[in-house]
């Protein structure tokens, strides 16, 4: 049909999509401008910040390595135990909750909803706040830290575990059901082999995060290397602070390397 070519322009997004995007861009811009104009910044502090930073580094150097033997090493061991025990405890609590939260395993919406509510609560409260609460209950020390790490991790572990369960292939489970397997066997022989890689990957990932988190819990008195950091900070021994910071840095990097190595070998 010569001469009747319809003019068509290809567009990636429809009009409502575009409008939605622009509205969100606008909202983001307004939020940033509002925050920028109203946030309280004390200008006087800014003037001497270069001097303060220089002071910080000169006081940090040379590092006081005697602090490592006297306080840092033992509190580092404590941090590792807090992170590991906290992760194990959270796995113990989150796995049954994950079974309840998975819609294909527990076909009762109220229970699913309840488990998800617990997950969201656990994740919404920061680990430092959990630590504050447990310090008030159990007193300062690693018990509060371990429980804080565990309660903070439940939401993360449980949510991901429930998602892995929901993604499990139905075929082998239907086969088990057809063979008359009880629920326990369905979970152990049907679901567990399917979610096992996801489970280990979640556990390792969370352990890695928990090492980082448990390093600061001591600031509110919940044990671990944070206590050594807090003591040094309060006494303004920046050369000791530097030792603690370097130790945390090395441990976090090592933990990440270990997790990556285990993942590659096991998963």
């Amino acid at each position: 049909m010569p001469g009747t070519a319809i003019h068509r322009e290809w567009e990636r997004f429809t009009l409502p999509q575009k409008l939605g995007r622009y509205a969100l861009y606008l909202m983001a811009a307004i939020a940033v401008v509002w925050s920028f104009r109203t946030i309280e910044i004390i200008a006087e502090f800014l003037y001497d910040s270069p001097a303060q930073i220089a002071d910080l580094f000169t006081r940090m150097w040379p590092m006081d390595w005697s602090y490592f033997g006297s306080a840092v090493w033992s509190s580092l061991v404590e941090t590792m135990h807090i992170a590991t025990l906290g992760t194990i405890l959270s796995l113990g609590i989150a796995m049954p909750l994950g079974l309840i939260a998975a819609r294909n395993l527990t076909p009762i919406p109220a229970l699913n909803w309840f488990a998800h509510f617990l997950f969201v609560t656990s994740r919404s409260v920061n680990s430092l706040v959990w630590a504050l609460l447990f310090v008030a209950v159990f007193g300062p020390g690693p018990l509060a830290g371990t429980l804080a790490i565990a309660f903070r991790s439940i939401g993360f572990v449980g949510k991901l575990f429930a998602e892995a369960l929901e993604e499990a292939n139905k075929g082998s489970i239907e086969a088990l059901v057809a063979a008359g397997a009880p629920v326990r066997s369905q979970i152990l022989m049907g679901y567990w082999p399917q979610v096992r890689p996801a489970f280990w990957s979640i556990a390792l990932f969370r352990w890695d995060i928990n090492i980082r988190e448990s390093a600061v819990l001591g600031i509110v008195g919940a044990g671990g290397i944070g206590v050594a950091l807090d003591t040094a900070l309060n006494l303004l021994y920046w050369d000791q602070v530097a030792v603690v910071l370097l130790t945390i840095f090395v441990v976090v990097i090592l933990a990440e390397l270990v997790v990556t190595a285990i993942r590659q070998r096991v998963l």
């Binding site: 990636r12 999509q17 939605g20 995007r21 969100l24 939020a31 940033v32 925050s35 920028f36 109203t38 946030i39 309280e40 910044i41 004390i42 006087e44 502090f45 800014l46 910040s49 303060q52 910080l56 404590e78 135990h81 807090i82 590991t84 025990l85 969201v120 609560t121 919404s124 409260v125 920061n126 430092l128 706040v129 504050l132 609460l133 008030a136 209950v137 159990f138 007193g139 020390g141 690693p142 018990l143 371990t146 022989m189 082999p193 096992r196 280990w200 980082r212 988190e213 600061v216 600031i219 044990g223 950091l229 900070l233 910071l245 945390i248 840095f249 976090v252 990097i253 990440e256 096991v266």
Partner: protein, 265 residues
């Protein structure tokens, strides 16, 4: 941990006893007992703690709303910290992430960029906040700067990974038209990574909001300072009302970021 046992078992025992697995469980239990005793956990302590917990919870109820002005000021400051930190953090993590992408950049560029990301990632925002409080003084600015550093570490890493996963066909096609490097970035890379990038940014906004309620504990501004003061003064009823508002705000932010992700899908 437990290796899958293939057809080694006979027909009588489809699921062979997994001795390695059992040994691992015994080792796990042994570790828990050892570490627990190392940390000084005991049943008495736990039981007395439960008693304390009763008192503690009793003092928390009912939540106190009489100092709502203080609460609102702290929440608003936390929100501002989170927004600014996310904005600048995401903005700065764009170039850092791009420089760290191994498929677009030469090795001598990616290594330093990866080093920066690793350094930003390995410290908890609270520790970075302590250093910034020393550097720029008490207040919201220290919190903003600390969370910016944390955001660069997190978003930069994910952004670099998602750039590394893009399809290079489109990059080649755009390059074949004679486009400049910025043209390649805008026309070939950006459309492939934008939805994921928005996802990371909104996730980081959530995460910054969580942390901005905390940096106040070490002097970084926001509701954390109010919370910690109330806690130290044993005003546990006010602590509870702060926690309720904080959790509500974080949940609202999660819903909002869910919407944003859906819009940019």
């Amino acid at each position: 941990m437990t290796a899958p046992t293939a057809d080694t078992a006979g027909h009588r025992q489809p699921f062979r006893t997994n001795w390695g697995g059992r040994l691992a469980y015994v080792a796990l239990v042994a570790y828990v007992i050892y570490a627990g005793s190392h940390l000084g956990f005991s049943w008495d302590r736990f039981v007395s703690g439960i008693g304390n917990g009763g008192h503690f919870v009793a003092r928390m109820f009912p939540p106190a709303w009489d100092r709502w002005g203080l609460l609102a000021d702290g929440m608003i400051e936390s929100l501002q910290i989170a927004i600014l930190a996310s904005f600048f953090g995401v903005l700065l993590s764009l170039p850092v992430g791009l420089l760290a992408a191994r498929n677009l950049m030469p090795v001598w560029v990616t290594w330093p960029a990866r080093g920066i990301i690793a350094l930003c990632r390995s410290f908890h925002p609270i520790i970075i906040a302590i250093l910034f409080v020393k550097a720029v003084g008490f207040g919201a600015l220290a919190g903003v700067l600390a969370l910016i550093v944390g955001s660069i570490g997190f978003v930069g890493k994910l952004f670099a990974e998602s750039i590394e996963e893009i399809s290079l066909k489109q990059v080649e096609a755009v390059r074949a038209t004679g486009a400049s490097f910025s043209g390649v970035l805008i026309m070939a890379v950006q459309p492939q990574v934008l939805p994921r990038f928005i996802g990371f940014a909104t996730y980081q906004l959530d995460s910054n909001l969580r942390n901005s309620t905390m940096v106040g504990i070490v002097g970084g501004g926001g509701i954390g300072a109010t919370l910690f003061t109330a806690y130290q003064r044993f005003d546990f009823d006010f602590v509870l009302s702060i926690l309720i508002v904080t959790v509500a705000m974080i949940m609202a932010a999660e819903v909002l970021s869910g919407w944003i992700r859906k819009t940019f899908q």
